[in-house]
Symmetry: C3
């Protein structure tokens, strides 16, 4: 379980860092809700997730930066109905074209994961709540 | 074993970051010894741990900051007598009210864990030695 | 598998951080190739790895710094022939003599691991490709 969850976050965040908005959105359920403390409106469903990821990628590229997400500190609980409740921390690093790296954001994540019905029964995010420290 | 240890550190550190001094101290044995390279005196027992965590929380709040601990790089060894010897690194991040985040401290931890006798035989810290880089 | 891989990286990186060039090089195969985006030439074999680690340690000491590697975000795939293909991120932290810590480098690693033939069939790096963000 731990290995599966940790591997899921690694794959999901890496897609985001590599600018694969569709691949990233595909790690959420069709009806997923993703809320961030930095956005007034939740993102609902894959189309909104793709649009959100693309807008972020455009802004990061305009800033001449690379971003990397490091997620860890997992607390994993199985819940009735096949849900996994996961608490995690994510640190987002930014590197400028000059090569200088810094901590961009410190985030806490509270997620509900479910298993997909197609293919390998892979994990998917159904609900995500991200609090960015300092917002 | 790895999952249990990683989950233990996630839970323990999260309690500290959330200001739950009692909950944090409860993850140590009654007779635990916790030494830090930044303190002359070791903390011994839960009362001293609670006092130490409260003093830290007060200082952090006075500074208008949030702190988050990210622990990883676990090397876990089973030792005779049911002890676990764990080496780990912890990075402490600080976020100011302005929203700016930074690396606060880089720490190496050498811990001895034991299993509690009550309830779920959960892991507890019996001995902790933290070296903060640069001190 | 996850625990073994995570433990391997913890041990390997800790040897580097502690200045144990020989111990670090011993976690690679005899014919290992290690490429970095910051070096024109690959390091090939343990002698070149030892020389590279020593040169780095000398430069870090001259700068009056300590370095710590935190590796995570593992994606692990078993490949034919007993190889493990591992993607990971590594953040390198630097702490100055003054005590100030910072993010030094953000790296992505793509490794091929194999099992050694001597002793405990431990993991060894056969091929490593490190991209340092911003280079």
């Amino acid at each position: 379980m731990y290995a599966e969850v940790a591997g899921f976050y690694a794959r999901q965040m890496r897609r985001l860092d590599e600018g694969d908005a569709e691949g990233w959105a595909a790690t959420f359920t069709e009806d997923a809700v993703c809320r961030l403390s930095t956005r007034l409106e939740a993102m609902r469903g894959r189309e909104e997730l793709i649009a959100g990821a693309r807008a972020a990628a455009t802004a990061i590229e305009a800033a001449g930066e690379l971003r990397r997400h490091m997620t860890g500190m997992f607390e994993i609980e199985e819940r009735p109905g096949g849900f996994l409740h996961v608490r995690a921390n994510t640190i987002v690093y930014a590197t400028a074209a000059s090569g200088a790296s810094r901590v961009h954001q410190v985030c806490t994540c509270t997620d509900t994961l479910v298993r997909g019905t197609k293919g390998g029964r892979e994990l998917l995010v159904k609900d995500r709540w991200i609090v960015v420290d300092g917002t």
